[in-house]
Symmetry: C2
């Protein structure tokens, strides 16, 4: 079998962890598998590098930031290779560009355009274990790019695609995908299987298990994806197109604190306002999530929406500039919010799910500020302090014994 394994930053954070990971890799290699490994930067390396940059320049160019941050993964690959050398295995480390990752030029959040995997294949032919720096690539100008946070998952899945790997195993510090964050919900249960679509909703809803671009790519190319623990030796959660028949109405409850609500108060109740607001945000690459538009009164209305906290400053500055053009009175921000969501393919054929969710929140006296739904998920925006309780209440309602 050809296996792509991905280890995150905490899995390679120190000497013991590196040798633990080296042991996992060695075992798989000894079973006769071809093994390609994608690693992230060690522990807090990326944060340390960001702090180092901030000391010099609070708004450095994204190009130079990528030059800086890409060193984190390069260090990990070299150290992991050294650990495998120490154990006596043939191994070679490759940077993103050596592994043939080509991306677009959107520094800091690039997308992979193609992978020319000749070098990786050549090393596999030589029976080498191949350690690849995740999260990074090269644009058409031969400048170093990074895929954005969590991009190593995407690197791993993309490599699995071009190498036609039999499975892509994403190792984390949890042993799989849970029905809720076990730190929040005591009796959260591990799922044996989950569909790509469910995983996508969970990833983008803050479940923090897999980077959602990696799941999208796995779905598109139908890569067998497994989420498992680097610390405990047991099966993880398989992510696949269709899961075996089961009666679970929902698969999980997710909480996302990385969210800010913005409201533009008193915009004219005329056509084209929403277009103006969201095109100006799109021009700055600010993704908007839940949108709520009030009913017009006295010729004006309010428009509220959520953005990621990272994008708050950009959104506020661009909207303040545009406020006159839009004709709005005031821009209001609220950071004290969380998005709580339930996810499950099962809800498609069960119309009562939303009502059941709202009932549970009502019983717990939790006020819903905004609502957003898709085929397989329902999200509500609530006060942040109530989020953990909301997750527990919903988990108990849908997934309790």
């Amino acid at each position: 079998m050809l296996i792509v394994k991905k280890f995150g930053g905490s899995s390679v954070a120190n000497k013991d962890r590196l040798f633990n990971v080296a042991g996992i890799i060695a075992e798989s290699y000894q079973q006769g598998n071809g093994v390609v490994v994608v690693v992230s930067a060690q522990g807090d390396t990326t944060d340390d590098l960001i702090a180092k940059a901030a000391e010099i320049n609070e708004s450095p160019s994204k190009r130079e930031m990528d030059v800086l941050l890409s060193t984190g993964e390069q260090i990990s690959t070299a150290l992991l290779a050294m650990a495998l050398e120490k154990l006596g295995y043939p191994v070679v480390s490759l940077t993103g560009w050596q592994a043939g990752f080509y991306t677009d030029s959107n520094h800091g959040n690039s997308r992979i355009k193609k992978i020319t995997a000749e070098r990786v294949e050549k090393e596999l032919d030589k029976k080498n274990i191949v350690i690849v720096a995740g999260f990074q690539g090269l644009n058409k100008y031969d400048d170093i790019t990074t895929l954005g946070r969590g991009g190593s998952d995407t690197s791993a899945v993309a490599l699995a695609v071009v190498l036609h790997a039999d499975v892509c195993q994403i190792y984390t510090d949890v042993d799989g995908v849970y029905t809720a964050d076990p730190r929040i919900v005591k009796d959260a249960k591990k799922l044996d299987e989950i569909t790509f679509d469910e995983m996508l909703e969970l990833a983008s809803l803050g479940a923090n298990v897999l980077h959602n671009r990696s799941v999208e790519m796995a779905k598109k190319y139908n890569v067998n994806l497994e989420v498992l623990s680097s610390l405990e030796k047991k099966p993880g959660t398989m992510v696949k197109e269709v899961t075996s028949v089961e009666k679970m109405l929902i698969k999980g409850v997710a909480r996302d604190n990385d969210v800010t609500r913005l409201s533009i108060i008193g915009v004219p109740d005329v056509p084209g306002i929403a277009f103006k607001i969201f095109s100006v945000l799109a021009s700055k690459k600010v993704d908007v999530d839940i949108i709520l538009q009030s009913i017009g009164r006295e010729g004006t209305k309010d428009i509220s929406f959520t953005v990621k906290r990272d994008n708050k400053q950009t959104a506020v500055s661009v909207l303040n500039d545009a406020l006159a053009t839009i004709g709005g009175k005031e821009l209001v921000c609220d950071d004290n919010v969380s998005k709580v969501s339930i996810v499950g393919s099962g809800m498609q054929s069960n119309p009562g799910v939303a009502a059941k969710m709202f009932e549970a929140l009502y019983e717990a006296n939790i006020n819903i500020q905004m609502i957003s739904t898709s085929e397989i998920k329902i999200s509500v925006l609530i006060e942040r302090d109530l989020a953990d309780r909301a997750v527990n209440v919903l988990h108990n309602k849908f997934l309790g014994e």
Copy 2:
């Protein structure tokens, strides 16, 4: 003018130093010069990375070591670029491979084979300040290599050669080349000029100002080289082919503690012994410096020589293996030695220099263990504890008021 500037690790060690360097670069750029900058890794970064590797594997492959160490310079280039961005200058950082450095495959101590400087030239055409990671390149397999310690000087001179730069300025924490290390000799004087040959002898004799490969290259291609301070704004020392006429008999006194003496006792006094010893050392790339062979007595003789301390382990292990073949009785090491040297083109036409040197050491009651001479230098091996005194005594004799 097109200027290549090189800044060492201590010159970019922290935020203040980085902005100090950025200021020097900016001033030169504002004067209308094209500026290419080569930087080393910050402060102790390289040592920290070496320690990190040692924790994992006490003898990692040199290939992986290069992958690891090359990140140090990459971090420096990004941070320096960010500092220049902060000051409002157009700037771009380039890794060794982006700057087109191609080397042989001798990982850890590679030699530059060629530089394809198109990218650097393109950035200069765009009026960008170009920051290049020193010390690193790429071999023909597209693997990252490093030039060995101090290789950033060589990177800078090599870039100056291919770019036909008007001058290559090497910034250090001293303001030029001195007649002796000012930490050892109080009244050491700064030299305005020194020849390549003199500088070469001083560099290889432990003066620690310029990496000797960089001086060799500057001599070969007649690059105008200047050594100057990154901390004080004043002229440094120009290194050139011929210095203006002056009456200085010698230019400097150097001390080198990075030396170990090895002696092979009781080898047969027959032809071919020296060949055997030094070819076995050469096969392990151990450079031998001063060599002393005793007069044969009772059919045996002793052979002593010095090697760099880094090479001691390699030399000892290869010689112990070869001891039987060579027919020697015993291998003896002595670390408690220093090499003290006087250097100057002036001594070529002044036969009394050696006598004057030995007289000064005799007057100070310092015993000479070994002697080595070249056209423009005389070195003696003495007990390490006496080295600083020897330097002072010689400086006073030749360069005192």
